[in-house]
């Protein structure tokens, strides 16, 4: 064998065996810990509860026009959520690395799909995002960089979607930045939504996961279209000023309407001074109070 062939072969093999510098392994089944926003992520948020969302007027108007049966339209039953559903939904995550077949280096990290959220492919090979004019889809296009042991993923090119499952929406100009931080067998995931169309400042949600030996499905159960009571051709909605549920949070929790309608000020401590005299503590929790009875057939 010549020197050149030997050298090339050795160089290649050393590349494969070079340890991943300043990276950690995020692969595995990460069980979601749904201790915060338990109801919002699980059975779903209360109608017209947008407290803590930094809406602008357009964001609020869009949310007010939303009628829940919209998602039962035949065309929308299996409509996919955007990657924001990692934060807005309750699901566990399955993550794995895809190696470059030639070098063995990680070409992409995948966050597996679940039911109505497509897999998130986080490209790690430095490829650029598509042109601004490239088509958008619910999956979006995601690239990642390592900041030491922290993976930072940036998702663009997503279609309009929901940031809370009661009509609070993101536009097709939204950008999601996701930080993955591992603490031993626990992982903190922080998601930032930047949306110049519907939000006045970034919206942040943080979630926690435990590494589990119970395998999380790579794709989740498939969604199947069916008749959910909304006939083809009807588009459920509320016209401006006709949304009948804007007082729901006051009826349930004594939370004044101006808080429920969201806006950046609702995120900060000084907002409490504004609503203190308007808040009315109800006698007790009347529904969705935590815990629950089992179910079964006889």
């Amino acid at each position: 064998m010549t020197f050149n062939k030997l050298s090339v072969g050795l160089a290649l093999s050393l590349c494969v065996t070079v340890p991943a510098l300043a990276e950690i392994d995020l692969s595995g089944s990460w069980a979601a810990i749904n201790d915060e926003d338990a109801m919002e992520r699980g059975a779903g948020p209360n109608p017209d509860d947008w407290a803590g969302i930094p809406f602008n007027e357009a964001g609020r108007a869009r949310a007010l026009s939303f009628e829940q049966s919209t998602i039962s339209m035949p065309e929308r039953i299996c409509w996919f959520q955007t990657q924001w559903h990692i934060a807005a939904g309750p699901f566990s995550l399955r993550m794995w690395a895809v190696p470059d077949p030639l070098t063995g280096r990680v070409q992409a990290w995948i966050v597996g799909a679940w039911e109505t959220r497509a897999p998130m492919t986080i490209w790690m090979d430095g490829r650029p995002h598509p042109s601004k004019n490239a088509p958008h889809d619910q999956t979006g296009f995601t690239t990642g960089v390592w900041n030491g042991n922290e993976l930072i993923a940036t998702t663009t090119h997503i279609k309009s979607g929901y940031i809370r499952r009661n009509g609070a929406s993101s536009s097709d100009e939204a950008v999601i930045t996701t930080h993955f931080r591992r603490h031993g067998d626990m992982m903190t995931v922080a998601l930032f939504m930047n949306d110049p169309v519907y939000l006045t400042e970034p919206y942040v949600l943080t979630r926690s996961y435990n590494l589990s030996t119970n395998p999380v499905s790579i794709g989740g159960p498939p969604c199947i279209v069916g008749d959910e009571g909304v006939e083809s051709g009807r588009v459920p909605h509320y016209l401006p000023g006709t949304n009948p549920m804007t007082d729901e949070m006051f009826k349930l929790y004594g939370i004044p309407k101006e808080a429920a309608m969201g806006g950046a000020e609702t995120m900060y401590p000084e907002f409490r001074d504004k609503i203190k005299d308007k808040f009315k503590l109800p006698a007790k929790c009347v529904r969705n109070c935590g815990g629950g009875a089992g179910a079964g057939a006889n």
Partner: protein, 292 residues
């Protein structure tokens, strides 16, 4: 004649082989040295250089800067934090039956009248309050965190500090350590900078502040009377990140473990945005309240 040619051929082959082997060996050695150097850089955190002499104080060794003023950003569990939660609203908390009995007996008027109104401002719950934080170094190995909501002070002790013992307190005894920090990969990682990397300053180091707190007096995880006991251990991870706008934000993952009132670890996370300056006009110390 063939044998003479063979001998010459063999001799020439020997020379070539020796040259090849020598060059190959030198090349291999060079590659291995380069690999070791890269590896050392990646682990070095700050790009190599001579290690500092002698033990460093926590302040000197701090890989991230948590000092300054921070404001809570309440985007999660809003109705449990920004207003007084309803009696019996326990969503998300893995309570034991004993905890449920206590929480079902909660009466905000009685709590306020008792004078013991800071129960929901103890270490496991204070970072869920809508509050500002002021974090400073009390000394080179003690980080001090003050809250304006409830006027609480927490001390995070680094090094081999031991609790002096004594009765449990609302903020308990906290032992802190810097954790992690796999090196400042900056933007490029291993694959080069992606075109859509967030604009603004480079992200802070990925190290965390880990705080473990014990010797806690019992209190409330939420203001509506969900209890934690004096057997609670609290573990927190403070992670510094940049928002997409480039502004610093700290995410605190809070793990509360209580064998008496929690059926498993209760894990939540709060976030705080940096407010610039050495003084803060919005810093507004207020007394604890059990009714608001």
């Amino acid at each position: 004649m063939e044998p003479m040619r063979s001998e010459v051929g063999v001799h020439m082959m020997d020379q070539v082989s020796k040259r090849t082997f020598t060059r190959f060996a030198l090349f291999t050695a060079a590659l291995l040295v380069a690999q070791a150097g890269l590896y050392a850089q990646g682990r070095g955190g700050r790009g190599g250089g001579a290690p500092p002499a002698g033990p460093q104080s926590a302040k000197t060794a701090a890989p991230i800067d948590l000092t300054g003023y921070w404001v809570s950003v309440i985007t999660e569990d809003w109705r449990y934090r920004m207003v007084l939660p309803s009696k019996g609203d326990f969503q998300g908390v893995p309570m034991t039956p004993a905890a449920r009995t206590i929480a079902n007996a909660w009466d905000p008027d009685k709590e306020q009248a008792s004078g013991d109104v800071c129960k929901a401002y103890g270490a496991p719950a204070v970072l869920r309050q809508p509050t500002r934080l002021h974090i400073t170094w009390q000394d080179d190995n003690t980080l001090k965190m003050e809250t304006d909501a409830g006027k609480q002070t927490r001390l995070f002790h680094f090094g081999d500090w031991k609790s002096p013992g004594g009765p449990p307190t609302l903020q308990g005894d906290s032992v802190a350590a810097w954790e992690g920090g796999g090196g400042r990969g900056g933007r490029g990682g291993r694959g080069g900078a992606p075109a859509a990397a967030p604009a603004g300053p480079p992200p802070p180091a990925d190290a965390s502040l880990k705080v473990t707190t014990t010797n806690l007096k019992g209190g409330f995880l939420r203001k509506n009377g969900i209890p934690y006991s004096d057997k609670t251990t609290l573990t927190e991870y403070f992670d510094l990140m940049n928002e997409p706008t480039g502004e610093p934000i700290v995410v605190v993952t809070i793990v509360t473990s209580d064998p008496m009132y929690l059926s498993r670890n209760f894990v939540i996370s709060s976030q705080f945005k940096k407010e610039p300056g050495d003084t803060n006009a919005k810093w507004k110390p207020t007394e604890c309240s059990a009714k608001w």
